[in-house]
Subunit: 373 residues, 2 copies
Amino acid sequence: MPSAAAPTVPGRAARVHGTVRIVGSGLLGASIGHALTQHGVDVALADTSPAQLRLAVDYGAGRAASESDDPAIVVVCVPPDVVADVVEAELAAFPRAVVTDVASVKLEPLRALRGRGVDLTHYIGSHPMAGRERGGAISARADIFAGRPWVICRDGETPAADLALIEALALDLGAVPIEMTPEEHDRSVALVSHVPQVVASLLAARFADAPDLSLGLAGQGVRDTTRIAHSAPELWVQILGANATPVVEVLDALAVDLASAADALRHPDAPGARRTLAETIRRGNVGVERLPGKHGQRHRFESLVVMVDDVAGQLGRLFGDLGELSVNVEDFRLEHSPGAQLGLAEIAVDPAILNAAVAGLESRGWRIASTSD
Amino acid sequence: MPSAAAPTVPGRAARVHGTVRIVGSGLLGASIGHALTQHGVDVALADTSPAQLRLAVDYGAGRAASESDDPAIVVVCVPPDVVADVVEAELAAFPRAVVTDVASVKLEPLRALRGRGVDLTHYIGSHPMAGRERGGAISARADIFAGRPWVICRDGETPAADLALIEALALDLGAVPIEMTPEEHDRSVALVSHVPQVVASLLAARFADAPDLSLGLAGQGVRDTTRIAHSAPELWVQILGANATPVVEVLDALAVDLASAADALRHPDAPGARRTLAETIRRGNVGVERLPGKHGQRHRFESLVVMVDDVAGQLGRLFGDLGELSVNVEDFRLEHSPGAQLGLAEIAVDPAILNAAVAGLESRGWRIASTSD
């Protein structure tokens, strides 16, 4: 794996000192608390639900908050529609603390707070780009921030020391702090998170009443395209509602493109129809290549596919052999179709060692199904 | 892994006897040829491109066809827009053979052939639901059909012996033969393959001109949603054009849903706006749950996530330990964020052994990041 950023490994000394108060102990709150606790930071947890709070404490996300707490940082991890209320209350209760929140939208809570005339000197909105399909403390994971962007929306009034504290928090969690304006943030997440959610849900909704016979032909492509359609309705109604303007802008542009693709198919002999279709796919090629992360990484790596029988011992032998061959595994995926007796282990490696890895594995009796070109 | 179907393992005796002629040695043609050759079947390859043919022969997909061949089966593996021409020519050249094709659309070639008055007694359209983002013989893989549906479109005139031969071909490749009418097939693939392709491409196209800053926030969700946007424009223009009517039908329905989601966001206080949004996500939940395959399997399995350092030896030790603990790995995924030093090995296991697996791994010093609920 690449090591461009250097996330903090749990156990290392924390940059953050003093008490961190976390309000809301769901997935993000409990994950932040868990990671900070591993660093030895004093984490005080608050939640309107005593059961949820107890769960997070049992999980190791921190201790229950007490009235005598004097936190250096307050992290508000509540649903979007109550963020402004809770931030206002926390600023009033802890005037010496820097208050941040982790909500998926940044402009609407800020507008609400400004509208109420709240002094926002010590408030810095932030948004860690991390999450899971499953919510709740039970799904919390200390490492979900590792290597992920953590957007920080300061403004001209923000004291440098406050900004440094929130950056230290992000760094302690292994995240990469990125400064943006609330407007930039909201437009960005509309594009790369909120609209993809709507699109995946709309596509998956087409399968709700489809015949079993048709769905039986579904493969990995459509499964990937619709994976995030598993997300929870309650949360997403809030997120989409709070970021409506930028989301609608992208959805409208998408609707125009969709209509012209459909028209091109309806009138295949109209001038430019074939070109419209080709452009639809080609511009998709261009767009998907620009996404960072695994796609980008896959470009930097070559892959080989090894056929393995369906037993854990086989994978143990494979990884043992890879270790002996000094092959560092950059990425790994076990692929198998329903009903198949054989698995395909796709292994991403440094291009410089691809041939040696293939030769080494073959000499040890492994069947290589294919390698990337 | 499940073993509901029993795909043929390469090397086992083939059901198909005699020569199989494959016309077109791209991804599918070369994959079929490669698999049949492994079974000891005589495969005669033909391709209009001598270079492509040589590549496929070198790859082990068969021998070059000769004029004296007397094939039992002809498999037409050419692009959709020339399928009808090639099927007609092959039926005329080999009147004793059963001719099939593997094109992604079934009705249009059939209509074209009927329109020309071709005797279709010995033609059976088929479509193996297998493929890869990359095309060409170089990407061929003998196992891409394993456990996948292989749609067979016979009609009332089809001799039983011919049908049996095409079913034997599918079974020899490890696929699961499924009978459908051409209409059922085309409507089904419009829904689960062609429309998802258009949607993924349209969504990814939105990133073509987006600011780097915005794309930097992209995560695994949007990467999955747009993965198939990598597909080749030339092929997809043909596929979409040949299946325009059912594709347009689904796209139109999608456009209506998209418009009402956008309207609900535009007028959040209109009656029912919030419910429309919630329904969009909720119906997506219902639809995605109905897709067979990995999603379904994941429901049958529990998963645990083990933290591993970034070295092949660690994975070797992990799988070695899993083998010693007699834990059968149903599915495996190595997850890591860009820049992360730690990987997360997600392992799917039988729910009955989840607790024992977790305890066993922990006793051997592994850190379990989480388990599924």
